[in-house]
């Protein structure tokens, strides 16, 4: 096996607030290899988006990021100057955001915005950059690509804009692409097209991809690995097969309860709801954050929770798991 292109250990993000520090992401680990797709799932506020922004180095100034390791292709992202980070972003790692309607600058043409990253990272003329833009627009399935270059974002539909966003992310053939809920703002029918497109391109260009999503149907279809986040922690991660077939964390199981048969969940279907509210992450958080909503909570859930492992990839944070259920083998 090759080394992971992205390796994250004990990534922590703190948000200082007037009322105290909010521990939005609390020590998460994951690895991602070239050509792999990692899906991060979880409900709003679980820290999925922050995690992807942290990898890109795009957290706003007030947020504090720390990690034992945050390596991209052997580069320690924690220790890079902003300048180096800028040279990586848009070139070797790229990101697609969830709001195509607002993620494009209204003041510039599609062509300008597509060319920008290419011009920033490659020694290329504007003509070359635009040619590359046309090529990629074609790749993301936009017809009459040439004429689109001089159009402005407001002249395009949401689906087209998201295709443009994807093309923009791919301009420099990144090694890692992070897609943060790229389809939530779109029509259901278009969602499927866009996701299929993403998956195809990822395979074709042999990129590593992190896909942040709510949509378990998608996860089931395209994920190699899945990380389930809850209240700032990865409560369970493993290969897609492991997560869907053998979920160990009560939260994962809660999520999966509405999709009885993995692989048959329809695209666009949302996570089932689990009663109760997410606890405050401000101040010291001890024990399992899910215990307030958990059917199988025990007094020891308030103590630090050890990580349990099974095989090379599958890991979860719960006092239950192996002992209770037994290895499914």
């Amino acid at each position: 096996m090759t080394d992971p292109i992205l390796s994250v250990r004990r990534l922590t993000i703190d948000i200082p607030l007037a009322q105290g520090t909010m521990h939005a992401v609390r020590g998460i680990d994951f690895d991602l290899k070239r050509g792999e797709t990692l899906c991060i799932v979880g409900e709003s506020g679980s820290g999925k988006s922050l995690t992807s922004l942290a990898v890109m180095g795009l957290l706003s100034g007030k947020l504090r990021r720390s990690a034992d390791r945050l390596e991209f292709a052997g580069i320690d992202l924690m220790r890079q100057k902003p300048r180096t980070m800028r040279s990586l972003r848009g070139d070797r790692m790229a990101m697609i955001f969830q709001e195509p309607m607002t993620s494009l600058n209204p003041a510039y043409t599609i062509g300008d915005q597509l060319a920008e990253a290419y011009l920033l990272h490659r020694r290329a003329s504007r003509v070359e950059a635009l040619a590359r833009a046309v090529e990629l627009l074609g790749k993301v399935g936009i017809t009459a690509a040439e004429s689109r270059l001089s159009q402005y974002p407001h002249q395009l539909s949401g689906g087209l804009r998201q295709r443009v966003m994807i093309a923009m992310a791919l301009m420099c053939e990144p090694e890692l692409i992070i897609a943060d809920e790229p389809t939530t703002a779109l029509d259901v029918t278009i969602q499927a097209q866009i996701l299929r497109l993403l998956a195809d391109l990822q395979r074709e260009m042999n990129m590593a991809m992190i896909l942040v999503t709510h949509d378990l149907g998608i996860v089931a279809r395209i994920a190699d690995k899945v990380a389930v986040m809850y209240a700032g922690e990865v409560v369970e991660q493993g290969t897609a097969r492991e997560i869907f077939d053998n979920p160990r964390h009560p939260y994962t199981r809660g999520l999966l309860r509405c999709i009885p048969v993995p692989g048959k969940t329809k695209p666009g279907e949302h996570l089932g709801s689990i009663p109760g509210i997410v606890p405050s992450l401000v101040g010291v958080v001890e024990g399992c954050a899910f215990r307030g909503r958990c059917d199988v909570a025990a007094p020891s859930c308030a103590d630090p929770i050890p990580e349990q492992k099974e095989g090379a990839e599958h890991a979860w944070r719960c006092i239950h798991g192996q002992a209770e259920e037994g290895a499914p083998a």
Binding site: P82, R89, G90, T102, L104
Partner: protein, 305 residues
Amino acid sequence: MLAFALKRLGLAVLVTLTVSLLSFSLLFMSGDPASAIAGENAGAADIEAIRTLYGFDRPFLVQYADWLFSALRGDFGQSYYFKLPVSELIADRLSVTMLLGVCGISFALLTAVPLGVAAAMRPNSFIDRTALFLSVMGQAMPSFWFGLVLIVIFSIRLGWLPPSGTAGWQNFVMPTIVLGYYAMPAIMRLTRAGMLEVLGADYIRTARAKGASEWRVMFKHALRNAVVPVVSLAAVQMGFMLGGSIVVESIFALHGAGYLAWESIGRNDLPTVQALILIFSMFYIVFTFLSDLANAWLDPRIRVG
């Protein structure tokens, strides 16, 4: 773009006509122009003769139309006071006022926009608070007071700048600051608010994700969008400044068009006042028209589709 420009132009012409009609009727009510021209020792018969001679006895609308058509040819009549063609008189004074206005708005923009951007980049920082303080001061400080204070400091105490006149660039320093400071707060605040709003926008994150530098993000991606309302405001402020520079012109003895207008009101010099009100309103209209065009250029959502 052309249709847009034409539409705005039509509106501009209509507004100009309305303003001129309003100002004409306002001044029509303001007293007997014949008596003003006749001077101190004129008898009733003299005044009557002048009234007929100048055509003040004709119906209001006829006089207005007459004036308007002459004005369209650039002929604003003779100043009752200076006995000179108004257009000649005004041309001379306007150059001072325009220069002052351009300097003033440039000063305002050159201080307000960087301050606003800096303040927006670091909300609640020292620079943000300084900018806020400056703008709050600017809004509450009467400009005549500020002008006189500057004279006391820079002309009398330090002797650096001449207090009055139009002899050289030094003469324009203080008037520019006073006039510019009047417009600065609003522009600063709008820039800051616009930048804050824009900096939170998703496309700024997109730009960062592409690896654009902070400088590029601020000035290429953010400012371009934040500046759209600022351009409109600056145009409005510029129009106000030209018409509102009376106080500044009077303090610094600049003999500009604003001061001329004020004096002409006192002298019942109607042709001059009418021409000036019309020209000031046209300035406003032209500036807003230009700013509309500039905005259309800056913001394709206005221009296209």
